[in-house]
């Protein structure tokens, strides 16, 4: 019974933890402009993140060591540094977007200017990282993030024309009024939003934090294979709500307030309250994960002692680097840049950095020195290779598409 409870908890946490500000904004933007026409990208992205989260978790559980330590050792310092540099910068950008997201969600609840909330949000993240236990952090934010299910409920309450929605999802080609380049730009952005790199570092470092052994792998596999796809469905529901309410009204999503209006339309104040709590939890949780990921990436590469399982005094540089990252994030937001714009850049550049973050994991998951007999099987390598090709195409196309479409304008 206890086991069932912990499995359920894991799955629910994975669902709630899947969605972050990148998913919220990108899916809403896409829904308001393309309907469900890009839902297939979410599916492709979900399978991809499942494959790589599983691989990185297995590497950590079997080898007993965390990602960046192994990457530097196996691939050499230069490849390791390229991997570190790309991962760290993308992490920082994503962290900035998440802190911005927390501030925007608080504005929705209180009407207080987001610029005032940003330092508060950063402070909240720091306190949680400093004091709260790892498991507690994951569970609380993951479970609260589940309230985002209100988007799925709202979609049903809006009583949409399901045939029309299915038609949008299955149509070949782009809608009339949007250029082809914009369609593919948002496909890349949505892909980057679904396959967030920090998820992988967090997963593998989390495996060490929680002292996983091979026995825990089965549970984690279940969490990932059930939780992430359900999280993907939630993303599609967010796009669906935008498609049903905003698309017909010709409202292109450019702010978080537009993302929640369909939910209010469907279920009134109660539904709206759930949505705001869910957004707050999801972005705060993601802010925690990206902050920890920044610490993990630096500490593991440079060989500092790291981990929340250590007392802060014993992992001083780990904690200090996270504090500095939070400062930088707030400083970027303090320039007045629109957090939604930061989010859009973060998902696109996530797509660009994907090959640098995933290729090493694919290589190490095949290395018998670290994995013993638990190397990738043929099937896993086949999927991994297919995804490597998809990721490379997305990464190469991302910046040209960004330039051609002017950021999807």
């Amino acid at each position: 019974m206890k086991r069932l409870f912990s499995v359920a908890l894991g799955i629910l946490t994975a669902i709630g933890g899947f969605v972050d500000i990148g998913d919220l904004v990108t899916n809403a933007v896409v829904g308001s402009r393309f309907g469900l026409g890009l839902a297939w990208v979410v599916l492709v992205g979900v399978v991809g993140i499942c494959v790589f989260a599983q691989m990185s978790g297995r590497v950590a559980a079997v080898s007993g060591r965390a990602t960046f330590e192994i990457i530097r050792e196996r691939l050499g310092p230069r490849a390791g540094l390229a991997n570190l540099g790309a991962s760290f910068l993308i992490n920082l950008l994503t962290l900035t977007a998440e802190i911005g997201g927390v501030a925007l969600a608080l504005q929705l609840a209180t009407s207080v200017d987001p610029l005032l909330w940003m330092p508060v949000a950063a402070f909240g993240v720091w306190i949680a990282v400093w004091r709260a236990r790892f498991r507690l952090l994951e569970n609380v934010t993951g479970l609260l993030g589940l309230t985002l299910i209100v988007f799925a409920v709202a979609l049903f309450m809006l009583a949409p024309d399901w045939n029309a929605l299915a038609g949008q999802a299955l149509q070949r080609g782009t809608p009339q009024d949007e250029p082809v380049a914009t369609y593919w730009f948002f496909a890349v952005a949505l892909f980057g939003a679904a396959m967030t790199p920090y998820e992988v570092f967090f997963f593998s470092s989390g495996a060490i934090e929680e002292r996983w052994t091979e026995k825990d792998l089965a549970t984690s596999r279940l969490n990932v294979l059930v939780g992430f796809p359900l999280g993907g469905l939630l993303s599609i529901a967010i796009a669906g709500c935008a498609a049903v309410v905003l698309l017909p009204a010709s409202i292109d999503v450019t702010s978080l307030s537009q993302v929640v209006l369909p939910v209010a339309d469907a279920g009134g104040k109660v539904a709206l309250a759930f949505a705001i709590v869910g957004i707050l939890a999801a972005t705060f949780g993601a802010a925690l994960e990206t902050t920890l990921s920044s610490g993990y990436t630096l500490a593991q590469y440079f060989g500092w002692s790291w981990g929340k399982f250590r007392r802060p005094a014993k992992a001083a540089r780990f904690h200090l680097s996270m504090i500095i990252c939070l400062f930088v994030a707030v400083a970027i937001l303090a320039t007045g840049v629109d957090p939604i714009v930061v989010t859009e850049f973060s998902v696109v550049f996530s797509a660009v950095a994907l090959p640098l973050t995933y290729l090493p994991i694919l290589i190490i998951a095949n290395d018998r020195e670290y994995m013993g007999d638990r190397v990738n099987g043929r099937g896993m390598n086949a999927i991994g290779t297919v995804y490597l090709v998809i990721i490379l195409i997305a990464a190469i196309a991302a910046i040209p598409l960004l330039i051609i479409t002017g950021g999807g304008a």
Binding site: Q107, L108, A109, T110, S111, V245, A249, S250, I251, D252, T254, S255, S257, Q258, V260, L261, A264, D265, G268, K269, L272, A273, I276, F345, I399, L402, I403, I404, G406, G407, A409
Partner: protein, 153 residues
């Protein structure tokens, strides 16, 4: 030869930084280059903002949303309208019809801003939301007229 190789090894990271910076800058600069595209974008931006305000006001009157959310949505809409108006105001006309269109567009966007401000005032206790919808309609009609095929060409 080795000296140049060491120099080039140090230059390689710099080259990467330059390329990425250029890419980001280029993506921001290619916002648009001609008045027609600029006006089109402004019409879309303005329409979206006015429609968002309309939806927010309707939900508020139905009691389906919190005041804080409505206020936020209206402030976001107003910001979009002001941004669109700034972009239009700073666009150079390439012909007399461009100049006339720019003037009309600024008027239409101004109508939008006024309507959204009325809504925000009502939320703050000044006036009521009743008069807002007709004002939003007026702004939307003005923008539609300019956005219709032939309107921005």
């Amino acid at each position: 030869m080795s000296r140049s190789r060491r120099a080039s090894a140090r230059e390689r990271p710099h080259a990467a930084v330059i390329v990425v910076t250029f890419a980001v800058a280029a993506s921001l600069l290619t916002a648009c280059t001609n008045p027609g595209a600029e006006f089109d974008r402004a019409v879309e931006q303005g329409s979206t903002a006015v429609e968002t305000a309309r939806l927010a006001v309707a939900l508020e009157r139905d009691g389906r949303t919190f005041a804080s959310t409505t206020t936020t949505a209206l402030e976001d809409a107003r910001r979009e309208l002001v941004d669109a108006a700034s972009a239009v105001a700073e666009t150079d006309a390439e012909s007399p019809s461009d100049a006339a269109l720019r003037a009309d567009l600024l008027d239409a966007l101004a109508l939008g801003v006024t309507a959204v401000n009325e809504a925000l005032d009502a939320m703050a206790g000044i006036g009521t939301l009743d008069a807002v919808e007709p004002a939003l309609d007026e702004a939307e009609e003005a923008l539609d007229a300019l956005g219709a095929p032939g309107g921005t060409r």
